[in-house]
């Protein structure tokens, strides 16, 4: 693979990982009021492809999705159908502030990856312009 192609592949892997992250964030926000819902988080890791010799591909991927282990919020609402004897029920443990900050960070990183993708594309097309003369 040429350097251009690998740069494009790495940037697109970054965009893929960031959009997956954004998908998890939107799942969390959509379920912020679902009783008993635990927020999903996923770590980023460097992708290992094939044998160990090719391990340093440099691409990024999203790891196993884990559930947030924070205590579920206890909400007092005796009228709620899920409420127990004390009148409480388990809400979700999604913190909207954290999710929105995460979404914004994912957007910024996506933009940075897109910028690099565009630059590599422009560089290779200006190389092709040399042939056209």
């Amino acid at each position: 693979m040429t350097d251009f192609q690998s740069a494009l592949a790495i940037s697109s892997s970054g965009m893929k990982a960031q959009s997956h992250r954004l998908q998890l964030v939107s799942e969390n926000i959509a379920n912020a009021d679902t009783p008993g819902y635990r927020g999903k988080t996923a770590p980023f890791e460097t992708a290992l492809r094939g044998p160990a010799a090719d391990a340093e591909a440099g691409e990024v991927q999203i790891g196993t999705v884990r559930l947030d282990r924070t205590e579920l919020e206890r909400i007092y609402d005796p009228a709620h159908p899920l409420a127990d004897d004390s009148g409480h029920y388990d809400g979700s443990n999604v913190d909207l502030m954290v999710q929105i900050a995460d979404a914004r960070e994912a957007q910024r990183s996506y933009e940075a990856n897109l910028r690099m993708f565009d630059q590599a594309r422009q560089m290779s097309s200006s190389l092709m312009d040399l042939l056209r003369r």
Binding site: D3, I10, G14, T46, G58, A112, N113, R115, M123
Partner: protein, 124 residues
């Protein structure tokens, strides 16, 4: 004139170096959120070139014009954040602009040398 086609080789080397650095920067930005990732960079082109003997050899196995693959180094400039990641997007963006300028310069030198060569052949 035809004995001195070094300028094409140097311009090509400069463009290749910029391309390699572009790949490394893309890698850094893609891994900007990976825990434990250390930012990498490529040695400057000026350090790779010996003005009198063309390309400098950094390893014994290299031929006259090395393909710059042995030039990856680890940067220690930025402090790693709490998850051990040392990528700063701003620094990477700045380096990307440098790469773009270097690449455009290399292509401009190449194009103009080619035009010079064509002019010497009497074509326009």
């Amino acid at each position: 004139m035809f004995g001195q086609l070094d300028i094409f080789r140097t311009a090509g080397g400069l463009a290749r170096h910029a391309t390699l650095r572009q790949g490394v920067i893309a890698e850094n930005i893609a891994n900007a959120d990976t825990p434990g990732y250390t930012a990498r960079d490529v040695t400057a082109f000026a350090d790779m070139v010996d003005m009198t003997h063309g390309m400098r050899r950094s390893r014994p196995g290299h031929l006259g014009a090395p393909d710059h693959t042995g030039s990856r180094i680890t940067t220690a400039g930025t402090m790693p954040s709490t998850n051990g990641n040392s990528v700063a997007i701003e620094t990477e963006m700045f380096k990307a602009i440098e790469v773009r300028q270097q690449y455009d310069r290399a292509l401009a030198i190449y194009r103009n040398s080619l035009a010079l060569l064509r002019a010497s052949l009497g074509r326009r």
